[in-house]
Symmetry: C2
Amino acid sequence: MKKSAVCVLGTGLIGGSVLRAATAAGYDAWGYNRSETGVNAARADGFDVDGDIGAVLRRAAAADALLVIGVPMPALAAILTDIKEFAPECPLTDVISVKAPVAATVRAHELDARYVGGHPMAGTAESGWTASSSELFRGAAWAVGVDPGTRAEPWTRVVRLALDCGSVVVPVTADDHDRAVARVSHLPHVLAEALSVAGAGGGDLALGLAAGSFRDGTRVAATAPDLVRAICEPNATALLDALDDVLRLLTDARDRLAADGTLGELIDAGYSERDRYDTLDRWEITDVRPGDQDWLERLRAAGQRGGVLRELD
Amino acid sequence: MKKSAVCVLGTGLIGGSVLRAATAAGYDAWGYNRSETGVNAARADGFDVDGDIGAVLRRAAAADALLVIGVPMPALAAILTDIKEFAPECPLTDVISVKAPVAATVRAHELDARYVGGHPMAGTAESGWTASSSELFRGAAWAVGVDPGTRAEPWTRVVRLALDCGSVVVPVTADDHDRAVARVSHLPHVLAEALSVAGAGGGDLALGLAAGSFRDGTRVAATAPDLVRAICEPNATALLDALDDVLRLLTDARDRLAADGTLGELIDAGYSERDRYDTLDRWEITDVRPGDQDWLERLRAAGQRGGVLRELD
């Protein structure tokens, strides 16, 4: 079967990696980037990237391409305005790290009819086209939206792209997604920043004695601050819940340490839950087809129980 | 120059690695392990390890060996009682992760005259002889005590062993050490446990979406709980200070997020301090010789400013 066209808007680390992976998988794929540097870097590597958003989107409209929005959250509204003008009928997805705020902005631009949210769970501390890789998504989880009202046709195209990029697909609603990533992506970023500051509070002596636990615990603090803010702050409500949980855990441990010199239950609980993560079974959802009766509700329920999609019929 | 003898008491991950590294560096080195399994594992690899503590220590006394205590904190007093009985004149060091509580216990056994605290900053989530490696300490920082009253002769032997194992030596007093490692070693363990629990609070959906930031941020939560407690809890006072700092940072960020939707200064500060860590210069201390006037105070001051020893004359 001939693969459909894919048009990536924003060819940084994630969007650029989608463009590379889609091309490698045989899609007719091209992209847009705002900066001349980014355009030239992608072209130098042999990819079809242009800085003229009107031309890129007109081509997408003519080819009925799947649009993949790869710009950061602060640039979303502007790109949706362009899409509304030049390619309002194209199926539409995104790879932004929160889903409910993106969905709301898409609705505000009246582009929700063919929109399906997406979020590949992969990245590096580096950013930009030069850090992109066709293998970035291999084996990763790729969240794909199953919110009420989602249509089967664009959904199938988004899932197929994610699978063709080497990922497994986690079906999830926007709100469920945002609550989950607050805990496993945004909270780790905030803790890494706090550990970095508290560790450096010990001066060069402490930093000179730091080994693997500090290095790994602060790794993502090396991410560009503007990017961290663009990832975490749009998910403030869910991140507050996660922060309150961790503050409660740490305060309990602190009070117990002051009272009787032990860290209480935290150490056993942390070990047990890390083991749960290490041994997690990504079981395959095989009994739901897009368009089936209650398919969205059934996929959502399966995703909540840890189910993933590994292929489409 | 012929290298002096080294006797390692407790041949788990750290002690076992000292035995391997010292042997590889040309020392006449042997060890003691309490468990028959541990003894047999080391012997099967060709190392001279015995389960008879009296025999091992009598041999050390006859050879004037440097004793290296590699047992965990809870087993320290018992091994010191044996040393007091069989080898009270041997120079003595340890590789335990806190220093002031070890020094106090050594004093209580009246073994402080030839004692010099040590702590190689290296490890893995694995434990036991089978995880040990002669290369574990290569390029690592090895803290060596410079507390008032430290004698030059045992100090020189401890520093020489650390250097011969491939480490750089950070001169530090017991209290300074314990405050520093509370921030860069014990705090990372506690944060990893809390992140592990808070992440798993999102269920299998959240764990299935977890990627590098969660995996790295919780890595040390896979360490055996008893070992984590044995490492962290003896350092309760300094760990409380570090925990209070991180609680203040996280509470400020939480309140700011609730008030205006931003994470405030934490992100820039965390990035800046991680960069300080990444670019830290371990400058070499070259102007202090053991036994010089004020040598302990001068080494302590140099260590606090990030200085390390890379060789002995």
